[in-house]
């Protein structure tokens, strides 16, 4: 769990060039952190790579809004692998 959170924060801060401290669990990727649609996709693909999972385009991956959403989604995916 802690590993996933750290990794997610690290990837987001690197992709969006923002301080990791800004990437709180409640932060919304688009509204709070300013990601555009391509940056959202870029973040997701990096996390797929990082955790060895594949997010299906038709599933809930499209609806992930906050850092916490992403973390819980990854936990589920990783557990299912």
């Amino acid at each position: 769990m802690a590993d996933i959170v750290e990794k997610v924060r690290q990837v987001i801060s690197e992709k969006l060039q923002i301080d990791a401290a800004q990437v709180t669990m409640e932060a919304a990727i688009v509204e709070d952190l300013g990601a555009d649609s391509l940056e959202q996709a870029d973040i997701l693909f990096s996390l797929e790579d990082e955790f060895g999972i594949t997010a299906d385009d038709t599933d809930e991956a499209e609806g992930l809004k906050t850092v916490a959403d992403i973390v819980s989604y990854l936990e589920k995916k990783v557990a299912a692998e």
Partner: protein, 240 residues
Amino acid sequence: MSRRVVITGMGAVTPLGLSVQESWESLLAGKSGAGTITQFDPSSFTVQIACELPGFKVEEFIDKRDARKMDPCTHYGMAASQMAWKDAGFEDGGYDADRAGVLIGSGVGGIQTFEAQHTVLMEKGPRRVSPFFIPMMIADMPSGAVSIELGLKGPNFATVSACASGAHAIGVAFQMVRRGDADVMVAGGAEAAICPIAVGGFANMKAISSRWRRSSASGPPPTRSTSPRRPREARAPRGR
């Protein structure tokens, strides 16, 4: 009636200098912009020289987050455009954004991005190709990025005509202002083709000098072969 067209600002980042002034002075001083390639290891190439942009710092022109999503050809186009825009005195307005456009030519666009992402495709598969690949690679992206940066909403595209792409853009932009398509055009060229696949291709088509070994950093610039190219014999048109 056609309108008169004037050039009111200039900007440049070139192998001879990181401004119009510096580039022009280096040119008059007979300096060469060529040197041993540093952007990649050229040791296995028949040609190992190129004209890079020593000292160019992208962060002086573009926000770090945006710069990551742009090919170097866009970095260079953005830098030169910003200088020209400032030189023209448009920083504080004085133009109609809907009547101001951008036309920056590029021979190949983001070929460094193309090369890098093709490697990703081969090594990691299609799922790992960057979502930024297309908007980084397409040849009209210097024009696109400059219009976004400066907020220009007029005509926006690119000319692609090999080594004439930049001059072609200036000529077409001139025509556009003259016939009233726009009041202001940011025009020029941007290229960043110093990468293995481009240097390999240019070298093998004999388009760049392989006599580089005779030159040195302080010596004269590499020269073209002195033997004149023989013109192709004119072919008789095929009968119909």
